[in-house]
């Protein structure tokens, strides 16, 4: 386990792109996330894994300032989160959206450009080209004029990814992007995420499917309210660590599927 924590201890010499210090989130007296310290580095792709209710999404939301922190500091590219909003992009879970909302696919992707557009800035050809290119990257260009409710779950997820892409950020945080999507979508999303990594971006994904962790991610953060282990996949994604995180809930047969 000490090996797995080397990222937190800062042996990596590069400046981290996302730094979390002493993060605790609590709704009542029982913290959902407790005392988390983390560093995530450029050109990596990190999976946040852990059992249900382990605080994976909560940690991500707190890191984005979407839910209040009880304590803790967040830095993006070595500066406070509030000054670095444009450098970080977030892909929320699909569940929280009203899909009958009157907006087309391209309207939704355009929302990623609102901070750049400001209140009254006009949408010009350049902005439209960015939307088109993002939709093309996720294979949704043919659907640009559809109302968002007319898409399948996987297609909706790809639209959300396109919306994050137009932000042209350095750090991408995704909350369960593979939950309930079809195989074609999973392939499309993972291709885009690997592209992002290879162009020096930082990608952090809340992930639930242990079977694909080794294939998709080079870094793993194992969490169950507190960090169990964090670091390169081969060091952290071990039977012992998984059992520490999941307790008795992970049967031996499941570990077989995972490939350990």
């Amino acid at each position: 386990m000490s090996k797995g924590l080397h990222v937190v201890q800062g042996k990596d010499q590069r400046p981290s792109s996302l730094t979390i210090r002493g993060l605790t989130v609590s709704y009542g007296a029982d913290p959902a996330v407790f005392s988390v310290d983390l560093d995530v580095y450029p050109d990596t792709m990190t999976a946040i894994i852990g059992p249900n209710g382990a605080g994976k999404s909560t940690m991500l939301k707190a890191a984005m300032g979407i839910i209040p922190r009880l304590s803790g500091q967040i830095q993006v590219l070595s500066r406070p989160l509030e000054e670095q909003r444009s450098a970080i992009a977030y892909v929320p879970q699909r569940a929280s959206i009203d899909w009958d909302f009157p907006a087309t696919v391209q309207d939704v992707v355009m929302m990623g450009l609102y901070p750049k557009l400001g209140l009254l800035g006009r949408i010009n050809a350049n902005h439209k080209a960015q939307v088109t290119s993002a939709l093309d990257r996720v294979g949704m260009l043919d659907f640009a004029k559809r109302q968002i409710g007319q898409l399948s779950g996987g297609q909706q997820q790809r639209v959300f990814l396109a919306r994050a892409l137009v932000q042209d950020a350095q750090v991408y945080l995704l909350d369960e992007p593979f939950a309930g999507v079809d195989a074609a979508t999973e392939k499309a999303i993972i291709t885009v995420l690997h592209d992002l990594r290879s162009t020096g971006k930082t990608v952090v994904v809340v992930h639930h499917d242990l079977a694909t962790v080794i294939d998709y991610f080079d870094q793993v953060i194992l969490i169950n309210k507190s960090i169990i282990a964090a670091g390169p996949t081969q060091d952290v994604f071990t039977t012992e660590n998984l059992q520490l995180a999941y307790g008795g809930r992970l049967a031996a047969t499941q570990l077989d599927v995972v490939g350990l």
């Binding site: 929320p92 907006a103 399948s152 074609a184």
Partner: protein, 402 residues
């Protein structure tokens, strides 16, 4: 007379009223859009009912200081303060207790309104003048509108419209996906406050015309009517303003034509007529279009099923299918296929085979295809190129011979 009323030929005062009420309708329609998109429409009901105590107290204060008591600006200030207090109570109840927002709204709305009615009844007995005029705020009145009143309404309606246009992007974002807005660095609380502030303003200026009981209708009905016509929030926003303005304009004209009727209910009924037209006739989401679409789809399903059965010499049990096949000239009354029927049946089966081959072997190549649709109902020639179909046919032929 009605025509003169509609074309603003009933004199200076009637024209003034029409102008003010139209602007109010536009502002209400526009403000209502974001309230509706934020799923917060009922808040306007809480606001309007919570104005009443403030209204009466403002009247009493103005009389106590030797004033007229009917000064519109004074009354509206009192109404605003008391509505703001009501809103604060709703927000307090929702945040500090486990009450849901609708319950909090119900509790605050009825309490404030009751208190207002008690005060209103109480001052009727006082030996001061003009208190009867306050009753007009319940159901609205345009008859007594003065130049100054019209100017107050016009100014505020313009201000509301301007604010809504300036903040349309953040408001749309917060309404669609508040956590994403937060992640982009927008202050969701502040945007919500803008939406509420605008609603409060429209409600307060609207209640002198439409009445505080009905102003909520002018905020909600134009928007839900506009929702039938478009899937784009920009278009809904604009349409809602137009519908609101038209309701105000026509309503004011009608009540100018029949001055004994209260203005508020007439304006709301005009808005309702616009709603009914939208509900029935809107091209995509309207009830008529949906029904026709359903019938046509149902017919297509029956015909396809029937033709497939014919092609494969299976019996057709469903009476409706037989009836539709016969009406289309595909089978005779005794159930035997006509020449036309046999030809169509062959085509339908061919379409089915081509699609199932495409599904098995080629579908995965096209990422952006609709993977979930039932292809039997779609003519493959309308989706794939002639070359692609020829390729499929060749492959099918090879499969059959080998």
């Amino acid at each position: 007379m009605l025509w003169q009323s509609l074309t603003l030929q009933l004199g200076y005062n009637a024209t003034l009223v029409s102008f003010g009420v139209t602007l109010l309708g536009i502002a209400a329609g526009l403000a209502g859009t974001y309230l509706y998109l934020r799923k917060n429409s009922l808040v306007s009901d809480a606001i309007s009912h919570a104005t009443l105590p403030g209204l009466v107290i403002a009247f009493l204060v103005m009389v106590a200081f030797g004033g007229d008591g009917r000064l519109l600006v004074g009354l509206l200030t009192g109404a605003t303060l008391s509505a703001a207090l009501g809103l604060y109570c709703v927000s307090l109840l929702t945040r500090k207790t486990r009450l849901s927002q609708d319950a909090a709204i119900g509790a605050v709305l009825s309490t404030f309104f009751s208190f207002g009615v008690v005060l209103l009844t109480f001052i009727q007995a006082l030996p001061i003048g003009h208190q009867a005029g306050l009753q007009n705020f319940l159901l609205g009145s345009t008859a007594g509108m003065l130049w100054n009143d019209a100017m107050v309404i016009t100014g505020l309606a313009l201000a509301v419209t301007l604010v809504l246009i300036v903040f349309r992007r953040p408001m749309r974002l917060v309404a669609f996906d508040a956590s994403y807005a937060q992640a982009l660095g927008y202050r969701v609380g502040a945007i919500d406050a803008v939406i509420l502030g605008v609603t409060l303003t429209v409600t307060v200026i609207g209640m002198s015309v439409v009445g505080l009981i009905l102003i909520v209708a002018l905020l909600i009905i134009p928007t839900v009517a506009a929702r039938f016509w478009s899937e784009k929030s920009d278009v809904i926003f604009t349409l809602s303003g137009i519908f609101g303005g038209a309701s105000g304009y026509i309503g004011a004209a009608l009540s100018g034509f029949a001055p004994n009727l209260p203005a508020g209910p007439i304006i709301v009924l005009v808005a309702f007529v616009i709603f009914v037209i939208s509900f029935l006739l809107a091209p995509e989401r309207g009830v008529l279009a949906a029904t026709l679409r359903f019938w046509s789809f149902q017919t297509r399903v029956h015909l396809t099923q029937g033709l497939l059965a014919l092609a494969q010499d299976r019996p057709i049990y469903e009476p409706k299918t037989r009836r539709l096949l016969q009406r289309s000239g595909y089978i005779r009354a005794d159930g035997v296929a006509t020449d036309d029927g046999r030809e169509q049946a062959f085509k339908t089966l061919q379409n089915e085979r081509r699609w199932s081959f495409w599904k098995q072997h080629l579908e995965g190549d096209v990422l952006s295809a609709d993977t979930s649709m039932v292809h039997s109902l779609i003519d493959i020639e309308s989706r794939l190129t002639a070359d692609q179909i020829a390729e499929i046919d060749n492959a099918l032929l090879n499969e059959a011979t080998s």
